[in-house]
Amino acid sequence: MTTTDTSYAVAAYDLVKTYPKNVTALDGLSVTVDAGQIFGLLGPNGAGKTTAVKILTTLARPDSGTAVVAGHDVARHPRRVRTAIGAVAQRSSADPVATGRDNLALQGRLYGMGGTALRRRIDELLERFALVDAADRRVRTYSGGMQRRLEVALGLVHRPAVLFLDEPTTGLDPEARAAMWDEITQLAGDEGLTIVLTTHYLEEADRLADRLAIIDAGRVMATGTPAELKGELYGDAVHIDLRTALDEAAATAARTALAAVPGVREVALDGSRLSARADDGAAVVPGALAALEGAGVAVAAVTAARPSLDDVYLRYAGRRFADADADLVTAGGES
């Protein structure tokens, strides 16, 4: 086992983590992240993304498995890892009664910074994250977007080699989200920073990540660039929404009828939604509708589109991303 491999910014091998009541958060998760790239951990709530980040940032201990971050083993040399990384949690962790500047100053102190160097770094970060005017106000008075920007600034004070961003845009309005995306893209260009971000927004992963791992139930289902992952699904995606969910016999009939249409491949049924692939999506639609009508299946809507990460997720996890998200939320929140 290559536990001392330091050629990656982050390398995790077979991470397993179980919480009380036998909740398996990670079930043999392995990923490698090259230095200088933005790596996305994409998965629905409860997939194990946050747990993975907690282990990689030395906050939690895995039951088994190893991880090397910025060249150091997280279990054997947690302090070395801590010095080399920045970690930005999902929610605001700043002292609400302290000012933004005070929060940044304390964070710098904890990494042994001080004096003019720290003051300059703080000014630089306040400038960069558009917090200059709010710098001497209590964090309690900040908007959601400002708090999130301050969190990222906190993670960057000591110029880490690897920055972990856990759900960086969850809860932000569209405008603030777009601004955060620009910020993250710019950061990656700087100083060879490696960024590991978790997200349950397909669009976010698609847009930001150089490479990504699709995670479901504590395991990596697929890894690659967004283009590679989508490229594996050749042709267009055809989605047919049915009027009602089907019983087993009708489902088989519908699948068989659709699969028999020339040019249609990889038919899958998820609830009341049929999905298939076709080289030319629009061209197969009339034939598909006729075939389903012949099988006695009532159709509500049809779409044909270029493949999305959602299609990639469906292929690997066997269900729609939004459904997995909803299932896990009702089944007991995120980990």
Partner: protein, 258 residues
């Protein structure tokens, strides 16, 4: 070592700033001791006539008890701060920086100590204004406050550990409700041991709150029994060191559960 000191310094400065931003808590928590001193103290004024109190002023008798009891009540809530920092993610943010874990707990201890000192001084001044006498003068008062701080550290660290382990407000509220009055009444805060039922007198000897009361009352008297002050103070110090060490250990359990 110097890194631990600077870490502790910055973390303590941070906690004190937060505390100073919310001085209202310090003031509110002074209401209770004022009630004990002036309402309870007046109500039971004549109890000294039973004899054995070593003074004919009940106020004199209860001042060290009220100071020590207040330290207990104040520090027992320390876990609420830890809990809040755990749930709002501040603690996690510190735990992924290189800051020493012991510095985080030390900062809590120092913050609580500062709070205990300020409150104790206020209570002593109020009692003095109401006519209480302090036979051994300032050195006795200083010892009283030191003993109150030690007792506070014991229960503050315990509260911090509970806050981090169970992560439920209800547990802290429950434990505090369960402990505060029994610990107070199973001690010589309000009553001399000779006048207690036998079983209470026996139990009270094992009560850290009682150690603090007995030692501080002796230190404040005209003729302190230094053997008593040192032994009870020593026990409190040992227990305080143990509880701080345990509270630092809880970071390990936290790391497994988080």
């Amino acid at each position: 070592m110097s890194a631990l000191l600077t870490d502790t310094w910055w973390m303590t400065a941070r906690r004190l700033k937060i505390g100073m931003a919310q001085p209202v808590f310090l003031v509110i928590s002074l209401i209770q001791p004022v009630i004990w001193l002036f309402l309870f103290g007046n109500l039971f004024e004549r109890v000294v006539d039973l004899g054995g109190f070593g003074t004919d002023s009940y106020l004199d008798y209860i001042v060290p008890g009220v100071v020590v009891m207040n330290a207990l009540a104040w520090n027992m809530w320390a876990g609420m701060g830890t809990l809040e920092e755990t749930s709002q993610g501040t603690l996690n943010r510190f735990l992924v920086t290189p800051v020493r874990r012991s510095a985080i707990m030390n900062a809590n201890v120092f913050e609580q100590a500062v709070g205990t000192i300020v409150q104790s001084v206020v209570i002593v001044l109020l009692a003095w204004w109401a006519g209480a006498t302090f036979d051994s003068g300032l050195p006795g008062v200083a010892l009283l406050i030191l003993l109150a701080v030690l007792l506070g550290v014991i229960f503050g660290s315990m509260s911090n550990a509970i806050g981090m382990l169970v992560r439920q407000r209800e547990s802290i509220i429950g434990i505090n409700t369960l402990l505060l009055l029994p610990l107070t009444f199973l001690s010589t805060v309000f009553m001399v041991r000779d006048l207690m039922p036998d079983w209470m007198a026996t139990v009270s000897r094992f009560n850290p709150l009682d150690w603090a009361v007995v030692a501080s009352r002796s230190a404040l008297s005209a003729t302190p029994d230094w053997g008593l002050v040192l032994s009870r103070g020593g026990w409190l110090l040992a227990l305080a060191v143990l509880m701080v060490a345990l509270s630092i250990r809880t970071f390990r359990s936290y790391q497994k559960a988080v």
